[in-house]
Amino acid sequence: MITFENISKVYRPDIHALSGVSLHIRPGEFVSVVGASGSGKSTLAKLLFAEERPTSGTVKVGDWDITKIHHSEVPHLRRQIGVVFQDFKLLPQMTAYENVAFALQVAGAPGSRIREVVPQVMKIVGLGEKLNRFPRQLSGGEQQRVSIARALVHRPKIMLADEPTGNLDAVTAQEILSLLKKINEFGTTVVLVTHDRDIVNALHRRVITLQDGRIAGDAEHGKYHI
């Protein structure tokens, strides 16, 4: 599903964010990518949704070599990879419904599909009753759920969650984790980038550990070891 082949990323003048990283993620897997700050986790995530290009090496999604992806193809890639961030990246002037609908609108989806899909997805994330709330009227956990709903509307094959629980308390973080597991059970490959020890240990899934831009560990039912 996702293949990183000997990936290196160097930021000028001489910051080696990733060095010779190779890994393979199978379809339907739930993988946690862990590591301390500056270990290269976020760079790895950015390479996956073509926010950054590697200095060398190849990143493949399916048979698609996204390191050679044309500028105009990036939007198509991003519709196949739902991305969730620590800071939610919701638009404050839009309601929860509008934030989710926005992802379909910018992709040119017809209004009828938006009206059909958005309430369904909002129901999946447990916000079926809060469609018309603005982000400021929602808790952190609820905002993250809206963000997940927005990532889900394109029915992506991959869900990339970059520190999704970073701004949340432990209980809410577990709720978000449960939601990600539920999404994974529907067949979506989930890549969770985090440095939250409790979350990773509670998962009992594959854990890839990054240290100084290199893979320091890759365990099928791993724990957080740094």
Partner: protein, 303 residues
């Protein structure tokens, strides 16, 4: 189709969110058009004035006293038949003498000679108007034939060359100065649109980031900003057209009085040429605005 409607909606949202900046940008676009139209109006006035002066230029062919009506008719027919001749009017002898005296008012010898004679030595005169002032030398040469010259006492041309030259010169200067001013305002308009889009990109930075995140195409992100430039241009052109017609309706009678003798109808000019003129102004402004927006987008957003 849905995307087009959404693009239009996002463009209007952008304008509403930066309302005052949009007003200022539209105002500068409007000022550019004011300058352009001032140049156009001055050009129309100058051309009408030049035509008016040119229309008054004529050649008087003074016939000798005693020229027979048949010969008069023959000369008149000959002149009328010449291609460059627009019109030939017969001036009676008395009127011809008055014109002759007026023409030679600065020549005491001629006036003294006329007094010496004591009677009107001139016959009738033929006032010849040409289609173009450039044709007068040809007409003067054409009338000087062995057949007619014995019956012609003198030919005289009103000399408006200096006036026409001055007007043409003034018109060129006004046009050049106005064009320079229009370019100056156009450059300011470009910079204003550039700055407006730069601010708009900043204001919309979160929205743009989210658009990119959820897979919006580059054109979908750029289109509202480009459309904003088109809307600024359309509003500025609409205001300009409205103002022009409003002012001309009110001022037309005063303009006619002020330019008495000049065949000038600015309202009619804009009624007949307004659509292509304003369409051209709108297109030019919109193209400049979109180019400016595209440059700002390229620099300030990673689309």
């Amino acid at each position: 189709m849905q995307s087009i409607f959404r693009t239009i909606r996002f463009a209007f949202q952008g304008i509403a969110r930066n309302f005052w900046l949009s007003v200022v940008t539209t105002s500068v676009c409007f000022l550019t058009l004011v300058t352009v139209n001032a140049v156009i109006i001055l050009n129309v006035i100058a051309i009408a004035s030049i035509h008016s002066v040119e229309d008054r230029v004529h050649v008087d062919v003074y016939l000798k006293s005693g020229t027979t009506p048949a010969m008069e008719s023959s000369i008149r027919g000959y002149l009328t038949g010449l291609d460059p001749v627009k019109e030939v009017i017969l001036i009676p002898a008395d009127d011809a003498l008055k014109d002759f005296k007026a023409r030679h008012s600065n020549d005491p010898d001629v006036l003294a000679a006329l007094d010496e004679i004591g009677e009107n030595p001139l016959g009738d005169a033929l006032r010849v108007s040409a289609k173009s002032p450039k044709d007068f030398p040809f007409i003067l040469q054409a009338v000087n034939t062995p057949e007619f010259s014995p019956h012609i006492k003198e030919t005289g041309q009103t000399n408006y060359d200096d006036v026409v030259a001055s007007l043409t010169n003034l018109n060129t200067k006004v046009r050049n100065g106005g064009t320079g001013l229009a370019i100056f305002f156009a450059v300011i308009a470009i910079l204003m649109v550039y700055n407006t889009v730069r601010v708009a990109v900043y204001v919309h930075r979160d929205e743009i980031a989210v658009m990119r995140l959820v897979g919006a195409q580059g054109w979908f992100i750029s289109a509202p900003f480009l459309l904003e430039a088109v809307i600024f241009s359309a509003v500025a052109t609409g205001l300009m057209a409205g103002l022009i017609f409003f002012l001309l309706k009110i001022w037309e009678p005063f303009i006619r009085i002020f330019f008495t003798g000049v065949n000038l109808d600015l309202l009619s000019f804009y009624t007949h040429n307004g659509l292509p003129l304003f369409a051209l102004q709108f297109c030019a402004l919109a193209v400049l605005g979109m180019a400016s927006s595209a440059a700002a987008l390229r620099k300030y957003s990673k689309i």
